[in-house]
């Protein structure tokens, strides 16, 4: 119990004092997760739309595969990316292991299946409503995907935020690929793991509380954007 009280006090202290190290790891966390999810969304949303609207051989297998990949353990993604980026691996010459870019790649791979699988469902539901109308107006499937992307942007935003939630919260892949290097690749979650291993549970929990606050802030920002757009731009 003491640890929990101490954690809240520490968290408040960290945030109110704008602790430099804390700001740094928050920056790295946001940078890695926003980039990873942003790039993943660029790939996964059209992919989800294509899987929903197009009929091709192996489509059902691909859907099952994407759904299964949603549960991919981050550690496995981390391991695969590590082996790829290692100096002895096929992409070793790029020198991306233990860098922020490497972590972005790992998180991108981690959330792409999640966004693709969830957005496929959104696209399919929209398609039930829009299919006849869009086909009647002469939209080809490739065009219909983009139209639905716009029509369903708020549902799809929620999907992207789910991807962001998974990315910002995971420790497995960023720890292996980033290496938890102080002032360089240390993120909120790897810092939490480190403090836990030092037995400083209060500080670890304080960082966890801060992580939740940051995640809430990002979600609130997205929600606010949606609200403003809905009201003034529609």
């Amino acid at each position: 119990m003491e640890d929990i009280y101490a954690a809240f006090a520490t968290a408040a202290g960290l945030i109110l004092n704008l602790d430099g190290d804390l700001l740094e790891i928050i920056g790295v966390s946001l940078q890695v997760s926003l980039f990873g999810v942003g790039i993943a969304a660029l790939v996964a949303l059209p992919l989800g739309g294509a899987v929903a609207l197009l009929r091709f051989p192996g489509r059902k297998i691909l859907i099952v595969f994407l759904n299964a990949l949603m549960g991919l353990p981050p550690v496995v993604v981390g391991l695969v990316v590590y082996l790829l980026l290692s100096r002895s691996g096929p992409l070793g010459m790029l020198g991306l292991l233990f860098t922020v870019t490497g972590m972005v790649i790992a998180q991108c791979l981690l959330v792409t299946p999640l966004i693709a699988a969830l957005s496929r469902q959104v696209f399919e539901d929209l398609w039930v409503e829009y299919a006849e109308q869009l086909r009647s107006l002469g939209a080809k499937p490739s065009r219909a995907v983009f139209t639905l992307l716009k029509e369903g942007k708020y549902s799809l935003l929620t999907v992207v935020l789910a991807g962001f939630g998974r990315a910002i919260a995971e420790v497995g892949s960023v720890l292996i690929v980033g290496g938890n290097i102080a002032h360089y690749t240390r993120t909120m979650t790897t810092a939490i793991a480190l403090e836990t291993s030092k037995g400083d549970l209060a500080l670890a929990l304080a960082l966890g509380i801060t992580l939740i606050i940051i995640a809430s802030f990002v979600n609130a920002l997205a929600y606010l954007t949606k609200d403003v757009l809905e009201r003034y731009v529609v």
């Binding site: 920056g27 940078q31 983009f146 102080a182 836990t196 291993s197 037995g199 400083d200 549970l201 757009l229």
Partner: protein, 287 residues
Amino acid sequence: MSLINLLRKIKITASMQVLLLLLLLGPGTAATAEEFITLSSTTSTQNSGLFDYLLPKFKEKTGIDVHVIAVGTGQALKLAEKGDADVILVHDKDAELKFVKKGYGMERREVMYNDFVIVGPKNDPAGVRGLKDAVQSFGKIAAAQSNFVSRADDSGTHRQELRLWEEARVDVKASSGKWYKEVGAGMGATLNTAAGINAYTMSDRATWVTFRNKADLELLDEGDPKLFNQYAVILVNPSLHKNVKTEAARQFSDWLVSPETQTLIGSFQVEGQVLFHPNAGQAVTAK
């Protein structure tokens, strides 16, 4: 073309892009511009705060940033084998010599030592307090079948622990899952587990002293020369991996064994205790 189209389609992503670009100019990029070497080392050196104390001084002197990947000795050696580190600082002499012999590393130099300690429940059910004999302590723990948490992660500490069990003629594999708990984790996580179930374990002194979640655990046995723990720095052989920054790594290695740095190491204290004893260029204290 289609990417640009897509961006235009979703205004939200567009505004996110701006945010992303802003973040690009954030923290990570500054560090990449500087010269750095990657050091793979053990959790004990990292968790004790030794690197936070030493590395800024090295950077001040040479301008070189040191990126520390803190893992177990086994994994640290593996990273170096694959060419993912430039220099290593670890503590498992047998494995180190093998590493150098196989041609993965070169210029092994001893830097400092600390020691392992046996910690356990305050009430000490196996009665090992103050024995100053690690082998006897382990024998008593096995005889009493008291819970013992092993790191079981192929780290230097784990290998040292296994050697002691062997000397005590205890077959821990047979008791795994009973009183002998293999957690496969770093020192800190292992101590957390031991604190949680009030069990014995063996830790390096640095991690133990700086560990904050001791609960009912106490330091029970120490001082056996068999518990001495030698750290050495080894350069990764650049003939296997072209990317290895040997020059900067050698600068770091030279600096570690220099008299000034040795003095710095000796004066590093946590809670009034000296955690690492410099011994570069001296005969090995233990063995």
